[in-house]
Amino acid sequence: MIIPIRCFSCGKVIADLWDTFQNKVAEGQDQGVVMDELGLDRYCCRRMFISHIDLIHEVAPFSTSLE
């Protein structure tokens, strides 16, 4: 849905890195290299990014007004 603010396992704040990660991967950079650059050293934090699918912008239009 939306990137979790912290890693589920170790508690590192990761959400601030998500946009940079997405942009760099969209430019064609390797996911592993980008995560290394962002300081995501532990595999618990890395799986947070690898396994995440951002769906909030697809779901948001359905949260319409009650009118």
């Binding site: 601030d16 909030i56 912008h57 359905f62 949260s63 319409t64 007004s65 009118e67």
Partner: protein
Amino acid sequence: MKAEIITNEGNKIQILLKDAKTSEVNALRRTILSDVPKMAISRVRFEMGLIEDNGESYESINVLPDEVIAHRLAMLPIPTYYDRFCFPEEDPANEGLPEDQWGSPASQIIYHCSVRGPSKDSEEEFIVVRAGDLNVLGEVDLQIPEQYKGIPLTTVIRGQYLEFYAYAVIGRGSEHAKFIPASGVAFYQREVARLMTKGKKSKVLFDLDLTTEDGRAIDAKLFGKDGVIDDIDMVEEIRRALAHVSRGTNRDTDFGDAIVLEKVAGEFVFTYETDGALRPEEVFNRACEELSARFVRISDELDTALA
């Protein structure tokens, strides 16, 4: 126990602890996780209803439920100053009041956030509400740290608004994980790498062309005249390189114990990173204080009991 900072970059720290026991270092680790206090948002008041603005109406609904937004707010790193804030239960202004009426500038920080969805004329379909949209009611240095202002909290579309007041208080990790000041708190016994044989077996190992991350060859030269490497980072590089050819790969029998990693008695490498609410060295110092205060308390209680 002696502590020496090996590296301290940004929020990450690596400390070498000497004259220490495993149990003592583990006590420090556990203290950081459960007893070092930190600020975190613990209460949120959402503004509800319909509002009109410039001929447009906005409703307080959102793609994420309020509970999820509140939880996301709780996870944000809030700047923590021990000298300016006290625990809510120790705040004299809260004395005698029921818990839901607690709250004074001595024990809480208030953040306000108000974001409206895109107007009818706008081409944008949604607006992302970020941590930077939280405005502190008080000192500017209590604002969410710059590096975390981009954290997405939720999204508002046309006709939606999000407005809330969030109240941060100081607490301990033993109460809730949002109060834990550091992540990846770990330690290992320090090791040195020793070149045991300079004959055939070590040649077999060196012929495997193992290198460090920066491309330096792992060979006899690297070990120097005394055949020992004690630099913590270099030992780590050798450990990683050896992992590619060690037990389980069926190659280790050829070179045996050509390079041995020896543990150094009483020395530990202690690592963690903070979330930006506190500096890493502050967390360590506070953990030492908390631990020492606890032992003083125990010995006082024992003295009283045995008197």
